[in-house]
């Protein structure tokens, strides 16, 4: 499937989605509510069987979840983005669709404080115990003991 066909398919599925076609891969931005049903369709109908990157960006005004998907059968790619609220970032997990997300979501949980609903084991991945609630990759994170500010 090429980017145009993906574009048409997504517009049909999520009418209020916005797109960025400037890059090599098609970027689609959807709402939190539309995200979970869409991912299920992407996996089942478009054979996106490989989640090769899952990360989060702090824009200060909001957070953006970024999912990079690839189909190893069809060879097509898609980047799905979802904006989240800074105060209460919540999104449905995708680790039941792509198992790799289990660790990546734990990482985003500890570094950005995103709450992944229905995640089977949402706890710290690398940070030592006691870091819950402090999210070091947030722009407003402060650590006066260890951090030297520039």
């Amino acid at each position: 499937m090429n980017n145009e066909a993906l574009h048409a398919y997504l517009t049909e599925q999520v009418p209020d989605a916005t797109f960025d076609t400037s890059g090599e891969w098609l970027n689609v931005q959807v709402s939190v509510a539309a995200f979970r049903p869409l991912t299920e369709k992407l996996k089942k109908e478009l054979q996106f069987n490989f989640l090769f990157c899952l990360t989060c960006v702090d824009w200060k005004t909001h957070l953006t979840m970024v999912y990079h998907l690839r189909s190893t059968q069809e060879g097509h790619h898609l980047v799905v983005k979802v904006n989240l609220d800074t105060q209460q970032p919540q999104i449905h997990t995708v680790c039941d669709l792509w198992r790799t997300a289990e660790f990546h979501e734990r990482e985003v949980y500890e570094l950005f404080g995103v709450d992944f609903l229905h995640h089977p084991d949402l706890r710290l991945l690398i940070l030592p115990d006691g870091w819950e609630g402090k999210n070091p990759l947030r722009k407003d994170f402060d650590d006066p003991v260890n951090m030297i500010k520039l």
Binding site: I126, P136, D143, N146, M147, I148, K149, L150
Partner: protein, 185 residues
């Protein structure tokens, strides 16, 4: 005093052997101090610990490989156990979580033990000095360091130079404590 026979004076000089050679008919006699001999032997057989925490480690591996080959200078075999190692080359970033592990490795090494801080990260936190919550600003906050090498990463030649510098330091024979006392008095 320590005696060894027979050895020619030019061969002794070539090997950097400590002591004086007194030529006699049919050979020579070497006079040396046992301490100097021990240091000389020690400096030429330093086994590094297999320890690398980030990119500098790749450069360290290059120095161990055939092209640069630190075995030529007596850094024979990298040991996977701290109990068999003489020198620890801190090749890479040390983070807060790694610090206690580094300390434990150092404590497990048998005396005499030496430390080389390789690269900006090990010296001061380097590229991660500012705005980071996790990086130790210099491995010498954790364990004492004998030789520092600047660079990010240092060239293989720089590591070789640091290894030779460490050998020179060992041959001089002062312990860290003696050096500290000397500078205080």
């Amino acid at each position: 005093m320590f005696c060894l026979q027979p050895i020619s004076s030019s061969a002794a000089k070539q090997a950097g052997f400590p002591g004086e050679v007194h030529e006699t008919p049919g050979g020579g006699v070497v006079l040396s101090k046992l301490d100097d001999l021990i240091n000389w032997a020690r400096s030429n057989s330093l086994w590094p610990l297999t320890f690398a925490t980030s990119c500098c480690g790749i450069e360290m591996m290059a120095v161990a490989s055939a092209k640069y080959d630190f075995s030529r200078f007596g850094f024979e075999v990298a040991r996977a156990s701290p109990r068999q190692a003489d020198v620890i080359i801190i090749a890479g970033t040390i983070v807060n979580k790694m610090a206690p592990v580094l300390k434990r490795l150092y404590d497990q090494m048998a005396d005499p033990k030496y430390v080389i801080a390789m690269g900006a990260c090990a010296i001061s936190g380097g590229p991660f000095f500012y705005n980071t919550y996790s990086v130790i600003k210099g491995a010498d906050h954790i364990i004492p360091v004998d030789v520092y090498i600047a660079g990010c990463p240092p060239r293989p030649e720089a590591l070789l130079h640091a290894l030779i510098t460490l050998q020179e330091k060992i041959k001089k024979g002062y312990t860290r404590e003696q050096i500290r006392q000397g500078s205080n008095s």
